[in-house]
Amino acid sequence: MNWLSLNWPQVIELTRDHLLLSAPALLLSVLIAVPIGRLAQQRPRIGGALLGAASLLYAIPALPLLIIIPALFGVPLRSPATMVIALTVYGVALLVRTAADAFGSVDPRVREAAVAVGHSPRSVFWRVDLPLAVPVLLAGVRVVAVSTVSLVTIGALIGVPSLGTLLTDGFQRGIPAEVATGIIATMALALLFDALLVAAGRALTPWATIRHERPLPQEETT
C-alpha cells in the first residue's frame, strides 16, 4: 500500500493511457465487425470464408503481430497506433462471428413484414436489423471489451505505456505491490467497461427487458 500512496499519479496516468488504447480499439472492432457480420449473415457463401478468415486472425501470436503491423501500416513500432491496430485485429476476430449470429437472431418473419409494409433495404438495416441485433451483439462486445482491456497490457513489452507497464516494471524491480496494483487496476477497468456496456444495453433495448415479463391483462375497449 505504501508503494501505491507514493506512486498514485503514475498509476492514474497509466490508467488513462490504458483507456486511450482500449476504448478506440473496441470502437473500431465494433465498426468493422458489424458490417462484416451482416454481410456474412446475408451471403452465407462469402460469409463462411470471411468468418473462417477472421477467426484465424485470433490465432496470430501477439508479439509477431506487433512487429508485422508497423511494417504493414507504416506506423512506428513503439506507438499507441500499433497497439490500437493489433487490439482491433483481435477484437474483430472475436466479434465477427457473434455479429453474424446477432443478425441471424433477428426473426426473419419480422424482417419480412418490415419489407412488406415498405421499408427500404437501408431502413430495414437501421430500423429493424440493427436494433434487434443489439442484445446478442452486446454479449459479444462485452467479451471483446474485457479481452481488449487485458490484452492492452502486452503493449508494455514493446514499450507502449499502459497499466501493463506496472507489471513489467514491477517484475523487473521486484516490487510485488506494483505488480498487484497493475493486475487489480486492469481488472477494475475491465469491470468498469463491462458495467458501462450493460447499462448502455439496458438503455438501448428497453423492449427486451419488458418482453420477458408477463403480458399485461387485456384491456379491450369493445
Partner: protein
C-alpha cells in the same frame, strides 16, 4: 381495381405453386381467396405488393402493371396485415402504427397523433400506445396490425390470414370489427384464409381455390353455398355438413329452423 392476368409462380426445385391464375378484384369490394395449404393463396396475395414476382403473367393495379412501380413505393401504398401481426418488437405500438407515414416523411409527432386516433378506430384504448407489442394479447396485436395497415390511408388492403392465430371468440370480434371498418372505409380488400366460414362472413365475393391456385368456383357466398360447382367445393364449404342442412318445423305457430341433426338453430323472423 386489381387484375391478375394468367399469373403463374414456380419456385425453383418445387412443384408449381400457382398456374395461370386470372381474377379481377373490383374496387371497394372484399374478395376472399379461400383454400387449404398448397392452394397458392398467400403466393397470389403477395404478387400484388411484389413480395413474390410471378414467373409469368402480370398483376395490374388500376390498369398499371405492378412491375412498373418501385417496390418500396408500391408497398407503402398498400396496407398489409399478416398472420402474426408482423409488428416490430422494439417499437412502441404508436411507432408501429406510424411506420409507413414516418417512412414517407410525415413528421413524427403528427404521425403519432394520427396513430393514436387509429388505435381508437380499431377498438383499442389509446393508452396502450406506449407499450411494446410483446405486452399485448394476440388479438390486440392483430388490431394494431390493422391500424398500421390503415395508417397511410391506402386504397388497397391485403390481409394474409390475419385472424388465423387468435382464439375463436377473439377472431369473431376481429371479423366484426373489420366488417364495421369496411362499411366506413370502402377499401379494396384481398383477404386470404383457409376458414370457409370466415370467407363467407367477410367476402362480397369468394374464390375457392384448389391445389396450385386453380379456381374451383367463384361467386357470392350465397351462390357458392347454394350451388357448389363440384364435389370439391361441396366438400370444402361443407354443403353436406349437418349444420348447413336447415329445414323448418313449426312449433306453437312459430317457424323454427332445425339443422340436419335435428338441433334447433334459430327462429324465422316473421
Amino acid at each position: 381495381m386489381i387484375e391478375f392476368e394468367t399469373v403463374s409462380k414456380t419456385y425453383p426445385g418445387q412443384s408449381v405453386a400457382v398456374a395461370d391464375f386470372s381474377l379481377v378484384v373490383p374496387s371497394h369490394r372484399t374478395v376472399v381467396l379461400v383454400g387449404s395449404s398448397g392452394s397458392g393463396k398467400s403466393t397470389l396475395l403477395r404478387t400484388v405488393n411484389r413480395m413474390v414476382e410471378p414467373t409469368s403473367g402480370r398483376v395490374l393495379i388500376d390498369d398499371e402493371d405492378v412491375r412498373e412501380r418501385d417496390p418500396v413505393a408500391l408497398r407503402r401504398s398498400i396496407g398489409y396485415v399478416l398472420q402474426h401481426g408482423g409488428l416490430l418488437p422494439h417499437r412502441s405500438v404508436l411507432d408501429n402504427i406510424a411506420t409507413v407515414p414516418v417512412l414517407k416523411g410525415t413528421p413524427k409527432r403528427r404521425a403519432r397523433t394520427a396513430a393514436s386516433e387509429l388505435l381508437e378506430r380499431v377498438g383499442l384504448d389509446p393508452k396502450i400506445g406506449r407499450r411494446y407489442p410483446g405486452q399485448l394479447s394476440g388479438g390486440q396485436q392483430q388490431r394494431v396490425g390493422v391500424a398500421r395497415a390503415l395508417a397511410a390511408d391506402p386504397n388497397i388492403l391485403l390481409m394474409d390470414e390475419p385472424f388465423g392465430a387468435v382464439d375463436p371468440i377473439m377472431r369473431r370480434e376481429l371479423q366484426e370489427e373489420l366488417l364495421r371498418l369496411q362499411a366506413e372505409l370502402h377499401k379494396t380488400i384481398v383477404f386470404v384464409t383457409h376458414d370457409i366460414d370466415e370467407a363467407f362472413l367477410l367476402g362480397d365475393e369468394v374464390v375457392v381455390l384448389r391445389e396450385g391456385g386453380v379456381i374451383a368456383q367463384r361467386g357470392t357466398p350465397a351462390e357458392i353455398l347454394g350451388a357448389p360447382a363440384d364435389d370439391f367445393v361441396r366438400d370444402f364449404v361443407g354443403a353436406d355438413r349437418a349444420e348447413r342442412e336447415l329445414h323448418i318445423t313449426t312449433v306453437d305457430g312459430r317457424s323454427i329452423a332445425v339443422d340436419g341433426t335435428g338441433r334447433p338453430v334459430g327462429v324465422l323472423a316473421p
